[in-house]
């Protein structure tokens, strides 16, 4: 299927989903007033991909600096979809949650998200500067 590439805007993240290579990434900030307008197309592409990704390895890099509460809900939903694909479709999902090493907020979000996920690998990756 076609890759999903969406440039960042002032209040939405850069999306780079290379489905062929199994490399997905979300980068930047996300605080649209209406989170569904930003996450709707992302979910649609992701779900379409996951139904045909049986046995494949998917690496998902999150490099987010800030997101609002409705985006946090959308991200949690995304992790549940990924965890479900790992559980029921045997997709090998590896999440890299990247955050600046002095950014306690993003570290805590990574910890919160990862808590109930049982079937995917969730790495907390502090980065310098």
């Amino acid at each position: 299927m076609d890759n999903l590439v969406i440039a960042a805007t002032e209040r939405s993240p850069e999306v780079n989903f290379d489905f062929e290579g199994g490399q997905l990434s979300l980068k930047g900030e996300s605080y649209p007033e209406d989170a569904s307008s930003v996450f709707g197309p992302i979910f649609a592409a992701l779900e379409q991909y996951l139904v045909q990704a049986e046995g494949k390895t998917v690496t998902f890099d999150f490099n987010l600096i800030y997101f609002n509460s409705s985006s946090a809900k959308a991200l949690m939903n995304m992790f549940q979809i990924l965890d479900d694909a790992a559980d029921r479709r045997g997709v090998k999902v590896e999440v890299n949650w990247r955050y600046a090493e002095d950014d306690e907020t993003m570290q805590e979000f990574g910890e919160d998200f990862s808590e109930d996920l049982e079937h995917l690998t969730f790495n907390l990756v502090p980065t310098k500067g």
């Binding site: 209040r11 007033e33 800030y66 509460s69 809900k73 549940q80 907020t105 808590e115 109930d116």
Partner: protein, 197 residues
């Protein structure tokens, strides 16, 4: 606060400049970094938020504090955009909806504070009041646990995300949140929420 009425202008103590200098002095004395009152849009939210982050960064505020202040600012401003009862709507090539309210950010006693205010309908007061009272009574760990629980809940159609937004605000606060309602008329209240960080 008492602001003298503007005089006829020119360099006189009751003139235009003196009037607005006094107005600004009152704001400055209260430690206000900026205060916005009027119709708020996503574009204004972005610009004010960006300026706020730059200002705090230039003053060497630590990253965690900048993130907390910014987050509370965004949630508060988006609550006004969503829930203010004072709106104008129309079509300007696309559908435009503007919501009126007030956002004030400043420092007092070494802490940042963010106050938002907007008009709400009386019928919406009990539900909002109950949510805020609940958050006010919770300690840090309870708020964190409640946040995690709500993060996993399916979105509540009517609230359009308010539940998690208010919890996010309470979570970033250094002291219990303060709020108040002031009756405007038979149908409306002036709602105000203050958060210290």
């Amino acid at each position: 606060m008492t602001i003298p009425a503007p005089g006829p202008g020119g360099a006189n103590p009751t003139g235009l400049a003196a009037h607005y200098r006094e107005f600004k002095r009152v704001l400055d004395e209260r430690g206000i970094i900026f205060s916005f009152s009027g119709y708020l849009s996503e574009g204004i939210l972005y610009s004010l938020g960006d300026t706020l982050r730059q200002k705090m960064t230039l003053e060497d505020t630590d990253l965690t504090t900048i993130k907390k202040v910014f987050s509370v600012f965004v949630e508060q401003a988006q609550n006004i955009i969503r829930y203010s009862a004072e709106k104008v709507q129309g079509n300007l090539g696309k559908t435009v909806e503007l919501s009126s309210g007030m956002v004030t950010i400043g420092t007092e006693q070494g802490r940042f504070f963010i106050v938002c205010a907007n008009t709400i309908l009386e019928e919406d007061v009990p539900r909002l009041k109950q949510r805020l009272e609940m958050l006010q009574k919770m300690d840090k760990d309870e708020i964190k646990a409640y946040y995690k629980e709500q993060l996993r809940e399916a979105p509540d159609e009517k609230s359009r995300g308010a539940t998690i937004g208010l919890i996010e605000i309470a979570r970033r606060a250094s002291e219990p949140i303060e709020f108040d309602f002031d009756r405007i008329d038979a149908e409306k209240f002036f709602f105000c929420l203050k958060v210290s960080i």
